[in-house]
Amino acid sequence: MLQAANLACARGGRAVLQGVSLALRPGEVLGVLGANGAGKSTLLAALAGELAPASGAVQLDGRPLAQWSAQALARRRAVLPQAPALAFDLEVDEVVRMGAYPFAELAPGPLADLAEHALELADAAHLAGRRHASLSGGEQQRVQFARVLVQLLACRAEGEYRALLLDEPTASLDPRHQITLLRAVSRLARAHGVAALVVLHDVNLAAAWCDHIALLAGGRLVGLDAPASVLTAAHLRAVYGLDAHVLEHPEQPGQPLVLFCAPPG
């Protein structure tokens, strides 16, 4: 299991994350919410193993990430960064197949099947064969999501722990594809026992698709619980500095629906 214990991180000599403890449990989607600069991306970078903790620890299967080779880590966790741009243009198929680079043992036949399956899950099957640069920002995001799904699912033994880290995956997607993507993540967690962490800005998307929500403010964890427990007016004021009405969702009993009020001035 991927978990952070009393994690602190610094960037450019400034502490941006302090005393964060959380675990990515198999079969669960953990949403991360917070204002700009609250430390969401730093948390994701630390969990991905690209940023060394200043103190505390990030461990996978009880071993600190620093003890894992990049290759071994890539076989157990996949990361979708914000809008990567290609230095030189490639075909969509080539981009998606990159997800299997950590798995040299995967034969071309099964890889083609997996790539097709991933493109379907990302609702991007019709983009296969296009040039990556010819796609819109949202379409590129879905293709990158398919690439990460290939990495997540390739050569996976039944019940093997795999973690998926998504950094604002819905940022450039239309509402329909925001739902498609988060539903795909949620189903992968339910059906395959994948452990997912999703950084989001849309509180209501998080309430709808995440099993737990971690609220970050000023680099500290101010709440970590089920959406209904954590999304309170007091918490939201602490995180965003905004007053909010927290209602019950008209169609999903027990699911909160958040309406923010415009700040005075």
Partner: protein
Amino acid sequence: MASPATPRRRRPGRAAVLAALGTALLVLALAAASNGAMRIPFSRLPALMFGAGTGAEDALWRNVLLQVRLPRVLLAIVVGTGLAVSGAAMQALFRNPLAEPGLIGVSLGGALGAVAAIVLGAPGLAVIAPSAFAGSLAATLLAYRLGGRSTGVAGVLLAGVAINALCAAVIGLFTWQANDAQLRSLTFWNLGSLAAASWPLVAALAPWVAALSLLLLRDWRAMNALLLGEREAQHLGFALAALRRRLVVLVALLVGPLVAVTGTIGFVGLVVPHLVRLTLGADHRALLPASLLVGAIALTLADWLARIVAVPSEVPIGIITSLVGGPFLLWLLARRGTA
């Protein structure tokens, strides 16, 4: 989304393209070997190479072919191969279409080593070449050490620019101090030439370049992953620091000896991978081997031109590659500007 499937635009298969390029290289090599200050009939090549043919003319032709032309054409192939595949690797590492092997100091460092040896009175290639190789490695090591401290490759790139400027200045100092005879030798280093070609040289360089090129070719996945970004390559399992070190070391070891033997030959490492990328796409699985072959073709062609445009004298090959490569790069930039 229910939009209809886009028809797939098929690129020519990798194997077919490589086979076509290989055949083109073979034909070109034979043509270049038959042509020069003295013309050897193309049809006589097989007989001359494999020992048949005993006329008085045949003996002369065979001598020219075997002792002069073939080593020279083979050296062009070896050097072109090494420069182009190194250029492709540097462009992948720096994620920049304008990167080339010289960027990490390997070319000007080598030229500085050679120029220093010449002006300080070295007798011949036996001293100049090792000095050039030492200069290549020292400059690259310095650029890598100074630039490698920052995260990302930008540091190495900037350090390379600084080291290159420094090398150019010291070369200028030596040139200013040189006498007329030395100036003549210096021209060779600054403009490049394959005139040093010989069988022992080809026998030493060919396996070296082949082995190091194969090691670069093996890294095609890592180079593709770098297209996504450095973080993304790391997420896909490529340890960035180790990868950067490996690519820089391989390129320095590959290009260093070439510079030592031929002087600085510009633009091949820059333009060839670009040309291949425009036609075949950026997938390094195809880009690297195709660049290797196109590099060999380009330099064979350039050396052929260098030998025949000003018979009986030779034009330095660096002038030919830059004369063709310069306008090509300008055209490329113009195209990017309008795109």
